[in-house]
Symmetry: C2
Subunit: 200 residues, 2 copies
């Protein structure tokens, strides 16, 4: 294998380890030393790529964002018009999605006073919103009159998704999968309903 | 002044200082020593009440939650039926509300791996949801047929509020007050629309 493939694998492994540490023991447990220990390598190997906890967290954040994008794309590949299923791919229903949300909470906590982290957060939100808007714009289930408002709808779906995920991640017993999905039911049914007729 | 009043004042002051530290330099900057320095007292005075960073943060979290409740109650006292204004009292529109959200992000980051913090988070969510449901149930602007669904509506309004606050806190330029408030417009107008056949 050429060397750069090795490096990519290591970086992916590091992201996995950081996410696992965060989910298990919180952001405080993420250190270059702890990551090296989990990976079974020397601290020098990890610190060659990641000089600090901050760099580890930023790398892990970006990896989880990419993974979330991949989950959405997989759901779209199954059925692009299934609005609910595509949104559900981002909710903390599956264990891997829940772990990604925990990473994001840890990241937000750090982003409060970190302009670069805040910038990444803004970029990811804008990217997600744009993906939603494009997807809604092309969606056969949406009547034409709704398509002028895809930007606003995408914005609202994303905020509802984030709020639901925060509540659900801390209270899974109160948020079974059906309830998480149901959050979107009224908006989606309103979205996809054909224009009202005067006589019913 | 009796002694317990003095203590209450000190605890309130400590909560203020912790919130200011979080907003200025993030959760990492919160230490017993830093709080003492800001308050102009010795570390011993602070550590008499708060043994650790964890206790400082929990105290600050509870104080901000109480303050948010007070903001909501003030908005209700002005006009209980103004749904949008009551919700807006919780959004990061005013500087004090934005700072409270930053405290909550920091708290969530810690709550990931802290069962007691998670429990407090669940309790606050349940309390907010209950306040919303009671308020909607008594609200003259809601038609009777909606009142059977106040639990579900309260749940959805709260998730939408949380999601909006997270996006807005990290991207105030993208979220002017009008846009934050507009998030609720479609749900609230749907809620308060009389049934197609008027019974008045």
């Amino acid at each position: 294998m050429p060397k750069y493939v090795d490096h990519d694998l290591q970086r992916q492994e590091v992201a996995e380890i950081v996410a696992t540490l965060i989910a298990r023991a919180g952001i405080e447990s993420v250190t270059v030393r702890a990551v090296a220990q989990e990976a079974g390598v020397s601290t020098a190997v990890v610190s060659h790529y990641f000089a600090s906890k901050r760099e580890l967290l930023l790398h892990c954040y970006r990896a989880t964002a990419a993974r979330a994008t991949a989950r959405v794309q997989a759901a779209m590949a199954v059925d692009d018009s299934n609005l609910e299923a595509v949104l559900a791919a981002l909710l903390p229903i599956r264990a891997d999605a829940r772990r990604d949300w925990l990473v994001w909470f840890a990241f937000w906590g750090m982003a409060i006073a970190d302009p670069e982290f805040s910038k990444h957060q803004r970029m990811e939100v804008k990217k997600a919103r744009k993906t939603f808007a494009t997807w809604l714009g092309n969606n056969p289930r949406l009547p034409t009159r709704r398509k002028r408002h895809v930007e606003r709808i995408a914005r609202q779906l994303l905020t509802l998704l984030m709020g639901t995920a925060i509540e659900a991640a801390f209270d899974p017993a109160d948020w079974p999968a059906t309830r998480q999905r149901a959050q979107f039911a009224s908006i989606l049914s309103e979205l996809t309903t054909p224009a009202p007729r005067r006589s019913r």
